[in-house]
């Protein structure tokens, strides 16, 4: 197969490329330049590109840099800023996978005659008995990334390869070391790639106007003032600026009035999650029991889909609007949507 492997300069995509080469595919590497902005480090720094380029040279495959900075700004960064301004908690990795890696990059790969795009994601693509593609969790459950790939449909899965999905992270590093790849011991990237660690509030303040407002309890009593709703997420406990009487959790954010509502733990939990933009890997599920995951590495809990709502078997902390609600049948992804 003619495969374009997206190489971030990290160990997972390095090993993904190596495995494809060793499996006999015709492999080409590409590193995406997504953000030229303030951090200078993060996902597309010069040294990461250089790591990817050197690994590609070691594997004797061609390597390109694709400049998708415009698309990344429009499809990931601007929606990220807009979400917080609208009292939603975005997941930029999901937007990047949808619009950039399995959007712009996949489109370009197909236009260039590649049969598939590979990444270093920990997830597994399989074909079911009827020939339909399925997405399963990665073999290393602690590193599983099927959650941030929940939006992939049959068209994308037919052209997606995840060569390290069968491996544990330890096995990935061991393979990298055995092959002498320079990325073998490279630390994992964390956080949001276009924002320097711990700099989220400053980034948001620089990209959208901040409107101060009140922090109130369920009765509307003002407990504190805040500088802007973007600094809050439903479920948040720290940094509320409230002295005593705790613990308080953010239970709601109203963008129109810039009001943050707090309450106790009982006020935070709920048994139903309204979901929008639902989509499914294959056919829509019926009423069968599913597993519901609401954070990238959250513990899945039992529930069922009922129309555009997910009903949990037991109450759980409310999901911040904008977060992905992914639905699984065992370790197989069924689909998902965004908490409304």
């Amino acid at each position: 197969m003619n495969v374009l492997v997206l190489m971030s300069g990290g160990v997972d995509s390095s090993v993904a490329a190596a495995r494809l080469v060793h499996a006999g595919h015709d492999v080409t590497g590409a590193t995406l330049r997504l953000w030229g902005g303030e951090t200078g480090s993060g996902c597309c720094s010069v040294s990461d590109v250089e790591d990817a380029r050197r690994v590609a040279a070691q594997l004797d495959i061609p390597h390109y840099v694709f400049n998708f900075a415009d698309a990344f700004t429009a499809s990931v960064v601007e929606p990220y800023v807009a979400s917080y301004a609208d009292a939603r908690t975005p997941n930029p990795c999901v937007d990047c996978n949808r619009a950039i890696k399995f959007g712009r990059a996949l489109d370009r790969a197909v236009a260039l005659g590649f049969d598939a795009v590979a990444t270093g994601h920990h997830a597994r693509v399989e074909r079911g008995p009827g020939g339909a593609y399925r997405l399963r969790r990665g073999a290393d459950l602690a590193k599983d990334q099927s959650y941030v790939l929940y939006m992939l449909g049959q068209g994308e899965l037919a052209r997606a390869l995840f060569p390290v999905g069968e491996l544990t992270k330890a096995e990935v590093r061991a393979q990298a070391a055995r092959l002498g790849l320079r990325t073998a011991t490279k630390p994992e990237s964390m956080d949001v790639c276009f924002i320097a660690r711990g700099d989220r509030n400053r980034f948001l303040a620089a990209h959208a106007p901040r409107r101060p407002g009140p922090v109130v309890d369920a009765t509307g009593r003002v407990l504190a003032r805040h500088a802007g709703i973007a600094e809050f997420t439903v479920g948040q406990r720290r940094g509320l600026g409230i002295a005593g009487g705790g613990p308080h959790y953010v239970v709601g954010i109203d963008a129109a009035t810039a009001t943050v509502t707090v309450g106790d733990r009982a006020a935070l939990v709920d048994q139903e999650i309204p979901v929008r933009d639902l989509r499914f890997v294959g056919d829509a599920p019926g009423v069968e029991p599913l597993l519901v995951q609401t954070r990238a590495h959250g513990v899945p809990v039992p529930g069922r889909l009922a129309g555009d709502r997910v009903r949990l078997d037991a109450p759980a902390p409310r999901v911040a609007p904008g977060q992905v609600v992914a639905l699984y049948d065992g370790d197989q992804l069924v689909g998902g949507g965004l908490a409304a």
Binding site: A69, G113, G153
Partner: protein, 384 residues
């Protein structure tokens, strides 16, 4: 391999490869020494300087060897600005090479007022805008002789006349890096006090260039130390590089008339063939004012970055925009300065020919490019 990126770098002329060999082995000494081995190196160096000087219409004492075009541009713009007593104006065209633009940015941090003058859509610097910003505070003016992306020859004689009239004390620098294979730089840049060239653009090695600093022009050095190059560029001179550059320059000049005629015909066939075979093709830069090796074309609706990959996969090598340190293709500041819309800039590629280009190169390009453009224009269907 079909190499259509001669404006980025040319293969070395065999004469240059041969000329530098002795100075990579037997004749290795530091030309600054007093002994026989040093004298041999020094003699070679000064002979090279004479060749370069004569090619550029300068005297040998006016040639400063540098480590390439960027250093020569930096030395010219920064060095002349810093040497200008009581004047703080720096004027550059907005589509200069980054070696000039970055020097201007550096000077801003030192308190200089740096103004960038735009260009017309045809790829020629805006002379009216230039005239408007020149005054008696202007210390340095920098306008390239040939633009590195679209290949247009700039009206340096007119620029020099404006400088003489509006800013008579200002120093005129010209980046002639892209001009050497095609123009008689000595004549074309006669009015410039500072002239930069780079060896690997005309069959010499990378890492060596020169700046002409005409007598009476004050320039502060960037590198200080042993006082080499009349104190303008400290550091042991790259003797082998200078010798090879001189050899490449001699050969270039000797064959220039014929190369220009032959390459211009190849280029014209390439442009005409692409325009005829590919719908919605446009040309950047006035074709009548270009050097012989430049073909800068755009294909509406095609991403240049994808097209370059498609061509590279067939071993056809071309370029677009300018490469940043990560290797990503950046939107071209040259096309932006010319007022080319961003969508057209991102659809444009540079096919640059050189002395080594052949009929077969053009044949292959005319076969590969229309097919690649067609494929990239076909809609991609992925069920989502």
């Amino acid at each position: 391999m079909t190499y259509l990126d001669h404006a980025a770098s040319t293969p070395m002329r065999p004469e240059a490869v041969a000329a530098m060999q002795p100075y990579l082995s037997a004749c290795f000494a530091n030309p600054s020494g007093i002994h026989g081995a040093a004298r041999a190196a020094k003699t070679a160096l000064e002979e090279a300087r004479e060749v370069v000087a004569s090619a550029l219409g300068a005297r040998p004492g006016e040639v400063v060897f540098t480590a390439g075009g960027t250093e020569a541009d930096n030395l010219a713009v920064e060095g002349a600005a810093r040497a200008a007593e009581g004047r703080d104006g720096v004027v550059v065209s907005a589509f200069e090479h980054k070696g000039v633009l970055a020097a201007g940015d550096r000077l801003v941090t030192e308190g200089f007022r740096v103004q960038r003058v735009g260009a017309h859509r045809d790829g020629i610097v805006d002379l009216e805008a230039l005239e408007a910003v020149l005054n008696d505070r202007t210390a340095v003016v920098s306008v390239m002789l040939v633009n590195n992306e679209v290949g247009t020859i700039q009206p340096l004689v007119e620029v020099a006349a404006l400088v003489r009239r509006r800013a008579p004390r200002a120093v005129l620098h010209t980046d002639a890096v892209q001009a050497v294979p095609w123009l008689d730089v000595g004549a074309a840049a006669a009015d410039a006090a500072l002239v930069a060239i780079s060896a690997h653009k005309f069959g010499g090695p990378k890492g060596v260039g020169a700046l002409v600093v005409r007598d009476g022009t004050s320039v502060r050095p960037l590198l200080e130390g042993g006082g080499q190059e009349r104190g303008l560029r400290a550091g042991t001179v790259n003797v082998a590089g200078a010798v090879a550059m001189a050899a490449a320059l001699s050969t270039t000049i000797e064959r220039r008339a014929e190369d220009v005629r032959r390459v211009a015909a190849l280029r014209d066939r390439l442009v005409e063939g692409l325009t005829a075979r590919v719908p919605d093709t446009f040309v950047n830069g006035d074709p009548r004012r270009k050097v012989a090796g430049n073909c800068h074309v755009g294909f509406r609706g095609v991403e240049a970055e994808a097209l370059l990959v498609a061509l590279d996969r067939q071993d056809l090598y071309a370029a677009a925009g300018s490469s940043c340190s990560s290797g990503a293709t950046e939107p071209s500041h040259v096309l932006e300065a010319m007022g080319v819309p961003r969508a057209e800039a991102l659809a444009s590629i540079r096919l640059s020919l050189g002395f080594a280009s052949t009929d077969e190169d053009v044949d292959r390009a005319l076969a590969a490019i229309p097919a690649a453009v067609d494929r990239l224009r076909a809609p991609v269907r992925i069920s989502r």
